[in-house]
Symmetry: C2
Subunit: 179 residues, 2 copies
């Protein structure tokens, strides 16, 4: 199946190709607005916009980091928070809350032109900790998956990719494509 992954990120494109074997995945940078809202709604709307603009079957990927104590916030806004105050200060948002649990979420939005979009979500539960490790991905140093002693940023890429929210979402998406 021929699919367009709307992303400007080569690493994400490579990872998608590895998981979605047997499908012809092209990367394309499309100027889509960054939307406010719930991760599922954002992914659906972005996928629908992409399919309309490009005129072919498209998928998009959105990341969120949702704090339980903040009922899901910052969620899709985590990137703006991280850019504003830096990853080291992010845990201080929870200084007033005893519950440090959080979910790392990837939501894939998929849309065939003229059809209703679908979504596939991968979630890893964990907790917010003081920043440890160095990473390319913004908030990896403060997220420690449940049952692990390392943050995402302390894990070798291989180890992280085996259990990541992105991996889970792409596996669900792959199962759908295989059907």
């Amino acid at each position: 199946m021929k699919l367009i992954f709307v992303t400007g990120n080569r690493n994400k494109l490579r990872e998608a190709r590895q998981i979605l074997k047997g499908h012809d995945i092209s990367g394309m940078k499309v100027e889509l607005p960054e939307l406010q809202g719930k991760p599922i709604d954002i992914a659906k709307r972005k996928a629908a916009m992409a399919a309309e603009i490009v005129g072919e079957t498209c998928f998009v990927e959105d990341t969120a980091l949702s704090f339980d104590a903040l009922s899901g916030m910052p969620g899709p806004y985590i990137k703006d928070f991280e850019q504003a105050i830096g990853v080291e200060k992010l845990p201080r948002l929870l200084d007033g809350f005893s519950d440090k649990k959080a979910s790392a979420i990837v939501t894939i939005g998929y849309c065939e032109p003229g059809k209703a979009p679908k979504v596939f979500q991968g979630v890893v539960r964990g907790k917010i900790v003081e920043a440890r490790g160095i990473s390319n991905f913004g908030w990896d140093p403060i997220f420690q998956p449940a049952g692990k002693r390392k943050t995402f940023a302390e894990m070798p890429a291989e180890e992280k990719n085996r259990i990541s929210h992105r991996k889970k979402a792409f596996e669900k998406f792959n199962s759908f494509l295989e059907r």
Copy 2:
């Protein structure tokens, strides 16, 4: 001058008409996406989208509450935060920070079809306090303007409207329209 205020809120429309005397202001509800980004960029893009959809000169209004300690966050996302955890818990986001200063911001985006959008911003400086007073507007109980002993929610509407960020933005906008 004939202008369309893109809003579904009758109170905002009435207030706009009071300040923008001598202009013909119609209210119109237009489905615009809620965008992520800086308040000025959001207002510009929404105004441009509205003018394109409606085909007439439009303006939009966006509110933000920006915490100094969080370098401007939650900013335009304050509504989602307030809906997620409730206004009483919002000050706890700053428990880990000694700086409680904040800005209440209204940004008006204005666009004539086919032209570049303009923005007019009203800012009131103040600080985040424990919720006091009751209000129709989400976060009024936790914002105390600098030099005042009351939160926005403790002020009679008249008193708030005399000094508000909305008033300031609309006065700038009015000066522009008068020129």
